[in-house]
């Protein structure tokens, strides 16, 4: 089994249990990445952030988060049906002199030379393969997009539900320095609720589309630049040319966001917003 796979499976199982215990819809897809990894990736991290937001919502409604106390031993058993004895994990070194030995999946710290985690001295653990100090960069290109459990719902004259916005998963064409998940994600001024209000207030249902009874969900992708400005606004999945154009117009008109930050620096971050155009008296 590739390094990190067992960790990935266990963490995924934890996320699924959190979702189940708190009645949160979480659609997870099987990771198709075959190589070694750190046990987590932008897609995994996005699922954690989604769960956090859902739990916060529930707490605002007076519902306490439920954590039943998961046993990692049980999770090991549940995720290793072909391996009754758990494999050594990435970074986990059995029977070493000091269990605080820093493993190879440590977060790199800028001021340390790249080989600083190489073991020193004369001691070797019995699993030498687990102790290489290679830094592996993991990308999750070409995976299925995240499930979108909510939308900015635009109904004439009626405010819809709170939006769910997600960092976009997948490559942004021609944009090599765009992040998907960063330590501090960019934020619309005032937060998600304000973003929803802004879109609801400024978007107009195109007249022709209304007359034709056209409705549906438009996915708009964009980049929050280092200065918070919005760029590269594009239609990822459209419904109708007029609805698509109106959605793009409103997203392009947004005020500057608070930019995303990573390792103390502002960075470019890719986002997508689903906007639902729904006529008041028309059923799906």
């Amino acid at each position: 089994m590739a390094k990190g796979k067992q960790t990935c499976k266990i963490l995924k199982e934890i996320r699924k249990q959190i979702a189940a215990e708190n009645d949160i819809e979480l659609v997870v897809s099987e990771c198709t990445y075959q190589g070694d990894c750190l046990g987590t990736c932008p897609k995994c991290e996005a699922e954690v952030r989604y769960l956090e937001r859902e739990l916060e919502k529930r707490q605002r409604m007076g519902k306490a988060a439920v954590f039943a106390g998961m046993s990692l031993g049980t999770l090991f058993a549940a995720t290793s049906c072909n391996h009754p004895v758990p494999e050594p994990l990435v970074g986990e070194v059995m029977h070493t002199p000091d269990s605080t030995e820093m493993p190879n999946d440590s977060v790199p710290i800028d001021s340390i030379p790249s080989d600083a985690y190489l073991l020193e001295g004369d001691v070797l653990a019995p699993e030498p393969d687990t102790m290489k100090a290679e830094k592996k960069k993991v990308t999750c290109k070409n995976e299925e997009p995240l499930a979108i459990p909510g939308d900015v719902v635009v109904i004439e004259g009626i405010e819809g539900e709170m939006p769910e916005i997600f960092p976009e998963v997948g490559e942004v064409e021609g944009e090599s320095d765009v992040y998907q998940i960063v330590e501090q994600m960019p934020e619309f001024p005032g937060g998600e609720a304000e973003l929803f209000h802004y879109i609801s207030k400024n978007i107009h249902y195109p007249q022709k589309a209304r007359e034709k009874g056209i409705q549906g969900r438009v996915f708009i992708g964009f980049i929050v630049e280092k200065d918070g400005s919005i760029s590269n606004v594009r239609n990822l999945r459209g419904v109708d040319s007029e609805l698509d154009a109106e959605a793009i117009r409103v997203v392009e008109s947004m005020p500057r966001w608070k930019p995303g930050m990573h390792r103390g620096e502002p960075v470019r971050v890719s986002y997508q917003i689903p906007i639902v155009f729904k006529l008041e008296d028309k059923q799906d």
Binding site: L11, L55, G69, M70, E92, D98, E101, S111
Partner: protein
């Protein structure tokens, strides 16, 4: 914010998603620079150099590690402070506890080679100890670490008498060239007589 009182520490590594290595749940290992001992087979000798590592405030560390809060809460996990000797960073860990609250588990992996007052001060805010005892024989301990172990034994005695022994795991290594199987057996026997219930015997392996 502890910018006012200037609590900072140098940290040479942060390792996420450790499963059952340092505690019962998902844990993040935070390794401090600085150690009073100079063990021959130390695997983290970079921790000896005080200028290495990144300078952190408790707030900066908290912001970095809280990314895994959901895992901590769901599995009864949290932070394991190691190093180096984490108990040299008492104010930092105290400030960190104030930031993360009581729900996160805080475990220290320590040699206990610090003043008793430090152990007494940190005891109310940590949930568990992993104590690397080296060897209970003073001569062996000093030969291997360069320091006497009387302070270690006093601290361990205090913890056993004043705290909950269930929170204490003591690791007893077979140290090539420094102790024998008989020495290790003697250490374990003595630890048991002191009231230690969780003892982890293991081997250093020399290449």
């Amino acid at each position: 914010m502890n910018k006012e009182d200037g609590v900072v520490a140098r940290i040479f590594g942060v390792s996420r998603h450790r499963l059952t290595t340092d505690g019962e749940g998902v844990t993040t290992l935070v390794a401090f620079n600085g150690c009073p001992l100079r063990c021959k087979y130390c695997l983290n000798k970079q921790s000896w150099e005080p200028e290495k590592g990144r300078l952190y405030t408790p707030e900066l560390l908290f912001e970095e590690v809280k990314i895994d809060q959901l895992y901590f809460l769901a599995t009864h996990g949290g932070i394991t402070f190691g190093g180096g000797e984490p108990l040299l960073q008492l104010p930092f860990i105290q400030a960190f506890r104030n930031l993360c609250g009581r729900q996160w588990q805080i475990v220290v992996e320590t040699s206990l080679h610090v003043p008793l007052a430090t152990v007494q001060a940190i005891d109310p805010i940590v949930d568990g100890y992993i104590i690397d005892i080296k060897d209970m024989n003073p001569e062996i301990y000093e030969a291997y670490t360069g320091k006497a172990n009387n302070i270690v034994l006093e601290n361990l005695q205090w913890l056993l008498q004043n705290g909950d022994p269930d929170r204490i795991k003591v690791r007893v290594p077979h140290i090539p060239e420094f102790n024998t199987d008989e020495d290790v057996a003697n250490s374990i026997e003595r630890l048991k007589s002191m009231g230690v219930m969780d003892i982890d015997e293991f081997h250093y392996i020399i290449r």
